[in-house]
């Protein structure tokens, strides 16, 4: 079991590095088209977004498949999202702008799509810093609250993507659909839990109300059963 887990771990680590390797090869062989820096920049951003989505997909997958082992990989996937976002940022600062801070400053002030990128990156940066088991222990209950910011990062990242496009929206629409499904799943779970917790709250009215609702629901379902 342990050896199987370890090999899976190494596969995840290697798989996460493949996009980078592929990009390096494409850069070396000048395969990135007429605007290679932009291509590099965009592809790194794409991979960061993909890893962010994979990180968010773990919880729904676990709930659906009942396989608990996946949570162990969530941290690694999240760190890869951070890794590619960092490379994305470094290409912007170093390669595209050659660290010309005045030009960078004007660009950031005037480009509203970059603000969302900065927001997403700041969050992912904070999450990466506090991703270790040690930080998790130290932060206690706050850890989970803090790491829920990943939802805001995911939304900010997709706005960042959308907001800089001039033409075709097919690709960002596809990514938006995925984020909608991933976050929608959580909303559904939250609503479900809220209903249950309402049932649990001691308090005459609420219990009554809930009981009534339940009665309606059960009578409805009875009817359905009869049919």
């Amino acid at each position: 079991m342990l050896s199987r887990l370890n090999t899976l771990w190494s596969w995840v680590i290697i798989a996460g590095l493949l996009p980078l390797l592929w990009l390096i090869i494409n850069t070396a062989f000048d395969n990135l088209g007429g605007n290679p820096i932009q291509a590099l920049h965009i592809r790194l951003g794409d991979w960061s977004l993909r890893f962010l989505y994979l990180t968010l997909a773990i919880t729904p997958l676990q709930k659906v498949t009942q396989w608990r082992g996946m949570a162990d990989y969530r941290q690694m996937l999240g760190l890869y999202a951070f890794f590619y976002a960092t490379l994305h940022l470094l290409v912007y600062l170093l390669v595209d702008h050659g660290l010309m801070w005045r030009v960078i400053g004007i660009d950031i002030v005037e480009s509203s799509y970059i603000w969302f990128g900065i927001l997403a990156y700041s969050i992912v940066f904070g999450l990466a810093l506090t991703s270790s088991k040690w930080a998790k222990k130290r932060m206690g209950k706050n850890w989970k609250k803090f790491h829920r910011f990943i939802y805001i990062a995911a939304i900010a990242a997709i706005i960042h993507y959308f907001w800089q496009l001039k033409g075709n929206l097919a690709e960002p629409l596809f990514y938006s659909l995925i984020i909608f499904l991933l976050l929608g799943f959580r909303v559904l779970v939250w609503l479900k839990n809220r209903k249950f917790s309402q049932l649990m709250i001691p308090g005459s009215q609420k219990v009554l109300l809930a009981a009534e609702k339940k009665a309606v629901v059960s009578s409805k379902s009875n009817k359905l059963n009869v049919k």
Binding site: G33, G34, H97, I106, E110, S111, I114, N168
Partner: protein, 318 residues
């Protein structure tokens, strides 16, 4: 409004003219031997592969600019009639029939008419114009166009004093243009416009070729507009109609997003697009270790065109 135009061109941007000329000679010689060398090639020469060598230079052609490698210019085009992908446009555009081609010149002119392109060309002197080209998406290139002055063509049609604007219309061929067929995104056909004084300006040309050769279809064959001080989307491709109007025409991108793409669309680093900065640009072909270039007002043609916009608030008329 203070307009600074005297930004020196970096030494690294300038190719030694000797090297540049030598390189062009070599390329021309290679192409000439290619064409002359085989029977097939020479039969193509009179139709599609003819080469304009040793053309005189246009008045404002900037010979110190180093043209972007032709392969990049040929494979990085926004041709939304075909696709939203700059690379795929190269292949898809080949299905556009461009021969024969006629252009209608009408509206506020004394002598309206429909002319075959070759008849138009017979009356015009072709020149080479090495111009900067700056896209609203913040990338740029340097292209040696082959073309003629738009003003000289318009003069032949004798504009009336009521002609204040020029409207250009692109070809409408939904059977070969998938996004026209599926009515995707923009209103087709593509329409652009200029003010009369902009159209008559000697910088403004109609191009029929580039890099000494005929215009590749993806770059707007057989006839496209080149207005080097305006963003790329003003430089309409595959023109079939030129109308002189009293009132400004409704132009495609302006209609699609009026707050983002103005009628004037003058290149101006001080006026940002609502969602992104226009202060700098990525020069295509500049390599992985060259930082972005700072965009110049009117794309560096301020000396020639700034006076057209005296007393105009360029933030308002963006």
């Amino acid at each position: 409004m203070i307009i600074k135009t005297k930004q020196a061109i970096l030494a690294s941007e300038i190719t030694d003219p000797l090297i540049f000329k030598e390189r062009r000679k070599i390329i021309k010689a290679m192409m000439a031997t290619l064409v002359a060398g085989t029977g097939i090639a020479s039969s193509l020469a009179d139709t599609d592969n003819s080469i304009w060598s040793g053309l005189p230079k246009g008045e404002f052609s900037n010979d110190s600019l180093m043209p972007t490698p032709a392969e990049i210019v040929k494979n990085y085009t926004n041709y939304y009639e075909f696709t939203f992908n700059k690379k795929d446009a190269t292949k898809l555009a080949q299905s556009l029939p461009t021969d024969p081609w006629s252009v209608e010149i009408s509206g506020e002119v004394e002598t309206p008419g429909n002319y075959y392109l070759e008849d138009i060309l017979r009356q015009q002197t072709l020149q080479e114009y090495i111009y900067r080209f700056r896209c609203v998406e913040a990338w740029s290139m340097v292209v040696p166009w082959v073309g003629f002055s738009l003003g000289s063509l318009l003069k032949k049609a004798k504009p009336l004093s009521t002609a204040n604007f020029v409207k250009f219309t692109s070809v409408y061929r939904p059977e070969v243009m998938p996004n026209q067929l599926n009515k995707k995104m923009l209103d087709w056909p593509y329409v652009e416009g200029l003010r009369m004084d902009e159209a008559m300006h000697p910088l403004t040309i109609l191009a029929v070729g580039m890099y000494g050769d005929t215009m590749p279809k993806q770059n707007g064959a057989p006839l496209r507009l080149v207005v080097p001080w305006k963003y790329g989307f003003k430089n309409i491709k595959a023109i079939v109609k030129i109308e002189l109007l009293k009132r400004p025409p409704t132009t495609t991108w302006n209609k699609f997003a009026p707050l983002e793409y103005g009628f004037y669309a003058n290149i101006n680093p001080a006026v940002a697009h609502p969602r992104w900065s226009q202060s700098s640009e990525r020069q295509l072909g500049s390599g992985l270790f060259t930082p972005r270039r700072e965009t110049e007002i009117f794309n560096g043609y301020g000396e020639q065109v700034a006076s057209l916009y005296n007393n105009m608030d360029l933030r308002h008329f963006f």
